[in-house]
Amino acid sequence: MNKVEAIVRPERLEAVKDALSEAGFVGLNIVSVTGRGVQKGIVHSGRGGEEYRVDMLPKSKIELVVKDADTEKVVQTIIQASRTGTIGDGKIFVLPVSDAIRVRTGERGDAAI
């Protein structure tokens, strides 16, 4: 099993969620994060005319654990639904998972996800 962590634009979140659900991946979690990318955020003009860097922008992190075999499909689904082609589109990371347990039933492994 793998854990897929995708950092996406909040305004694309609905689209990604819908796409995942259509592709059969219903279970997931969303975490609100703030993220900094290579372009170091944006420059903002404050009330008093001062300009400063806002480096941390709001992002949504989607987390879901999937079977090894499904990993690539999930990654592609997310990319398709979230890409706008402009800076700040985000990243997807894949982490190995050694075990999964469904609390309700105690099922483990692939059966649990």
């Binding site: 609100s32 944006i42 420059v43 800076i87 700040g88």
Partner: protein, 449 residues
């Protein structure tokens, strides 16, 4: 025939509006002190009194409280549904405003008093039983005590009945006994009978929004000008004095409470500033027609100190009076009523004087007022709550409490902040210097197609 004064009518209407606003103000004061999963329920317990108690009071409560006297103890049903209560002519309680203006002003007092009690059982009361409790309490406790103190012929107050019977003359200008002691003692009983909140003394149960607490206190302060100065039912010297002393007492108690929190706890507390102001307002309530500006400093200082200590000692006695109704309204109200007997001056009362002027008669009358109200409120509140507890139950189930009353009692959630959301400044450039272009306008639906 007495004539309606536009100045007095304007003032009492305005005062009624101000006192009306106190109930939402209280809802915010209490709601801010509650935890976020109980905030709506806490607000609702005050806010909804505007609905229920208005109906109770204009249909029956007013008649019981202010209607023709029986034995100095209670009114009757002569004025139920406001029959014979003129919308245009003055009534017996205020010579220069329509009788119904007086009714609506009094209604606001009847509304906020039960709302005050709700702080004692916040975060665990079953809403259905709570409503029954409040309706019964308004009729069986509030109306009788209001009658004793403020009606023509009531045994505690000093207004003469038609047949010449006069009460003992305990002074309570704007409701120290009727409102605050009464609610404070009911709160004590309720805090005991409702029992402690799950996790009390073990988990933090801090205010979830102190800015809301301050807003609530500010609205209470603002409204209290109507509460006290409106109780003159005219816009002259008596109202003016009540206005002035109200402000000064609130200010003094605020300073004293903050100073004590600084000394005792190490830092000047913002919640303490709000609570202190309320304590001062409570204490000056009965005294606002009896003391002068410098007396108000004494009343306020006493309130700040006594209420602070009472609240700090709450945990020692293990009482879960969740939002400190006993410490603030019970103690503050009692202090105010007694202080009236100490600092009253004839220049304001037009007669009665306090201990400081060498007159002890008024002082003892005040003690009787305090004692009688406490005893009555204690016994009847206990009776009502005990019966309700044994029959339909006063408290929610444990999992409903843990889930939060907002969800379990009202099916609602107070706050739903968007997770994320685009950064919403006005960006002028990307930080690396490139001009800023927002993400293209492909919509999710397009993206999916």
């Amino acid at each position: 025939m007495p004539e309606i004064s536009s100045g007095d009518t304007a003032w009492v209407m305005m005062s009624a509006a101000l006192v009306m606003l106190m109930t939402p103000g209280l809802a915010l004061f209490y709601g801010g002190l509650a935890r976020s999963k109980h905030v709506l329920a806490t607000i609702m317990q005050s806010f909804f009194m505007l609905g229920v108690i208005t109906l109770v009071f204009v249909t029956v409560g007013y008649s019981l409280a202010f209607g023709p006297d029986h034995y100095g103890l209670i009114g009757d049903f002569s004025w139920v549904f406001l029959q014979d209560v003129s919308a245009s002519e003055p009534g017996p309680y205020a010579a220069t405003i329509p009788h119904q203006t007086f009714v609506i002003f009094q209604a606001m007092f009847a509304i906020i008093t039960p709302a005050l009690i709700t702080g004692a059982f916040a975060e665990r009361a079953k809403f259905s039983t709570f409503l029954i409790f409040m309706i019964l309490w308004s009729l069986l406790v509030y109306s009788p005590v209001a009658h004793w103190v403020w009606s023509l012929g009531g045994w505690l107050g000093g207004l003469p009945e038609e047949n010449g019977d006069v009460g003992i003359g305990a002074l309570d200008f704007a409701g120290g006994t009727v409102v605050h002691i009464n609610a404070g003692i009911a709160a004590l009983v309720a805090a005991i009978l409702y029992g402690k909140r799950h996790g009390f003394g073990r988990e933090p149960m801090e205010a979830h929004d102190i800015t809301m607490v301050v807003v609530g206190a500010a609205l209470l302060w603002f409204g209290w000008f109507g509460f006290n100065a409106g109780s003159a039912v005219s816009a002259g010297a008596l109202a003016s004095n009540a206005f002035v002393v109200t402000h000064i007492a609130a200010a003094t108690a605020m300073v004293v409470w903050v100073a004590l929190s600084w000394i005792v706890q190490g830092k000047p507390s913002v919640v303490g500033a709000a609570a202190g102001a309320v304590a001062g307002l409570v204490a000056i309530t009965p005294a606002s027609g009896a003391v002068d500006a410098m007396g108000a400093i004494a009343v306020g200082a006493g309130a700040g100190a006594l209420c602070y200590l009472a609240v700090r000692m709450r945990s020692k006695v293990g009482l879960d009076d969740s939002l400190d109704v006993v410490g603030v309204h019970g103690v503050g109200g009692a202090w105010g009523a007694i202080a009236t007997g100490i600092f009253a001056t004839a220049t304001i009362t037009g007669g009665a004087e306090g201990l400081l002027k060498g007159d002890s008669a008024q002082f003892f009358d005040q003690l009787i007022g305090v004692g009688a109200t406490m005893l009555y409120s204690l016994v009847v509140t206990y009776g009502i709550l005990k019966v309700l507890d044994l029959t339909i139950g006063i408290r929610v189930k444990e999992d409903e409490e843990l889930m939060g009353l907002d969800a379990s009692q009202h099916g609602e959630r107070a706050y739903q902040l968007e997770t994320g959301g685009s950064y919403a400044g006005i960006p002028v450039a990307q930080a690396n210097g490139a001009p800023y272009t927002p993400a293209p306008s492909t919509s999710p639906s397009e993206a999916r197609s």
